[in-house]
């Protein structure tokens, strides 16, 4: 390999992952580890959302709902039947996939644009009502507590590495989907539906597929999240997590692969450390989002492209 084959982005990714992998050994502050776990989870939620919204161009606003369904199903099953949380998480993913594909995916075949956004938002919005009506099972507005952990005697470090592996696995799956013929078909349908069809792309099949993938992966992430935290309540479905997840996507760059992960770094860590600023927290975050969107409408990924072009120019001017 030549020296010029190394690019700074690859090096940054490798260093970043190494840092995350070694953090518990090097420093191992339990509070920081907790924030890292939140980052893993939200980065996955936002990346899945990005697959649906950025790549497939389907304006879904219900993704926090898909996340909560996975979490609730897994938590309820593990708590009431005492099944292994690993199986419950998988079932939660399936539950999320089936309900989302049935109630959002299928109707979405006949809808487009803003109407899918409304439908998916309504879907997510009915969940708190359903939860309060089924208090005996779901805990209602109080939430579901004492959800068993993944295994007895689990420590923060265990949770950290389990969620880190989940983070890597699901991101790899998303990356593979984006670069498969299915992912290309999503983008083709987004950019020009009629034209994609002339290439033989089956619109209905691909739309159902993207809903199924995204809701399954988001549901599983929800499962891991509740078994880590030990509880979940309808506040998950409130406006703040919803806006923060959208902000992660916007900041990272919609329709760009690792974008949502970068957005999640800034939002999750920013959100935690700005607690020092008290009530100004959301205002500061908002200002940061505005600044990024103002100067780099394509999000952080556009900022990275900009640095890239600068480096490219430097290299050519040196060479001549």
């Amino acid at each position: 390999m030549k020296l010029t084959d190394f690019n700074w982005k690859k090096i940054a990714i490798i260093l970043g992952l190494l840092f995350i992998a070694l953090y518990p050994v090097m420093h191992g502050d339990t509070y920081i580890m907790h924030i890292f776990i939140l980052f893993f989870v939200w980065a996955l939620v936002a990346s899945n959302w990005n697959l649906l919204m950025g790549y497939a161009g389907i304006f879904s606003l219900g993704n926090i709902g898909y996340f909560a369904i996975g979490g609730y199903i897994s938590g309820i099953l593990a708590k009431s039947f005492g099944w292994s949380p690993w199986i419950c998480i998988f079932l939660g993913g399936i539950g999320s996939m089936v309900s989302v594909t049935l109630f959002v995916g299928l109707p979405a075949l006949r809808l487009s644009g803003i109407y899918i956004a409304l439908l998916s938002l309504i879907f997510a919005d009915t969940l708190p009502t359903i939860l309060t009506q089924t208090r005996s099972v779901t805990g209602g507005a109080m939430g579901l507590h004492d959800i068993p952990p993944l295994f007895e005697g689990i420590t923060r470090i265990h949770s950290y590495y389990i969620n880190f592996v989940l983070f890597l696995v699901i991101l790899t799956i998303i990356y593979k989907i984006i670069h498969s013929s299915t992912g290309l078909a999503f983008v083709a349908l987004r950019d020009s539906k009629d034209f994609a069809k002339t290439l033989g792309v089956n619109e209905y099949k691909e739309k159902i597929k993207v809903f199924a993938y995204v809701s399954f992966l988001t549901g599983i992430t929800g499962g891991f999240y509740v078994h880590y935290l030990g509880d979940i309540s309808p506040t998950t479905l409130a406006i703040e997590p919803f806006l923060l997840a959208i902000a992660m996507m916007e900041m990272g760059g919609i329709g760009r692969f690792p974008g949502a992960v970068l957005g999640a770094v800034i939002i999750v860590f920013g959100n935690e450390f700005l607690r020092l600023a008290g009530t100004l927290r959301l205002a500061l975050l908002g200002a940061l989002i505005c600044a990024i969107i103002l100067f780099f409408p394509g999000g952080l990924m556009q900022f990275i492209d900009w640095i890239d072009s600068r480096i490219g120019r430097l290299k050519t001017s040196k060479a001549t």
Binding site: S181, L184, A185, V187, A188, D191, S192, D194, F195, K197, T198, L199, G200, V201, N202
Partner: protein, 242 residues
């Protein structure tokens, strides 16, 4: 009809096709026939239904009445995905690439249909052998290609679907005379080196007339003239436009 065509099998047989945009009738009992492996040019003035006919064949726009037979099977009511799988590739005129995808991704998308998916490797080799230029640029984003290159990519993507019938809509539109030559050179390669049937729709007569074996003229939605290409001159076709 010429003796040459007496024995050839009919690839595409269009009989009395009517098609509308809302109330407006665009195709009026349009009929034409393609034999296997031949290159046919369909000329006609702007706005008289040439592109619509291609869209009707490829199933994007519905035919209200009439029959379209491909290899003997009726496809007038078949969905566009199925038609691609049957081996008909439609190459639209302008804006026919996915601009943010790389050359390779555009090609892979061409092989999306079930039949072609297993042959991506072979078809890629074949396309790159036909257009070595594309291989050099395979990781380039499609929007950065020149006009001629992107037209060539569009044709290659049609080939990636494993098509045996290419419907090419105005390959020369918006190109400089030199790039037009390159694009038609590419189509000539397909004509000489493969047994793919090609239907070219053109407004401009020059290049397509040299390449085609037979010529149809479409005016006000009707096919009103059919000639072997050698028997008609550019002036005659252009006279018929008005």
């Amino acid at each position: 009809m010429n003796d040459k065509y007496a024995t050839a099998t009919t690839a595409l047989d269009i009989q009395k096709v009517d098609s509308f945009y809302g109330e407006l009738q665009v195709l009026r009992k349009a009929s034409l026939k393609l034999h296997e492996g031949e290159v046919v040019a369909l000329f006609g003035p702007n706005g008289h239904g040439k592109s619509t006919l291609l869209k009707v064949i490829s199933g994007i726009h519905p035919a209200v009445s009439g029959s379209i037979k491909y290899m003997g099977a009726e496809i007038a009511k078949t969905s566009s995905q199925k038609i691609v799988e049957l081996g008909i590739a439609y190459i639209p005129e302008a804006r026919n690439l996915f601009p943010d995808m790389t050359v390779l991704e555009n090609l892979r998308l061409g092989a999306y249909n079930r039949r072609a998916r297993g042959m991506v490797g072979e078809n890629l080799e074949y396309v790159f052998a036909l257009f070595p230029h594309l291989e050099e640029r395979k990781d380039q984003i499609a929007i950065t290609l020149s006009g001629g290159e992107s037209r060539m990519l569009a044709v290659s993507r049609g080939l990636m679907s494993g098509a045996s019938l290419l419907l090419i809509d105005e390959p020369s539109i918006g190109l400089s005379p030199i790039t037009k030559k390159t694009v038609f050179g590419a189509i000539e390669k397909i004509k000489n080196e493969t047994d793919i049937t090609v239907l070219i729709v053109e407004q401009e007569v020059d290049n397509a007339l040299k390449l085609a074996e037979r010529v149809y003229l479409l005016k006000r939605g009707q096919v009103f003239l059919e000639k072997v290409a050698d028997e008609i001159s550019k002036a005659e076709i252009e006279k018929a436009y008005f």
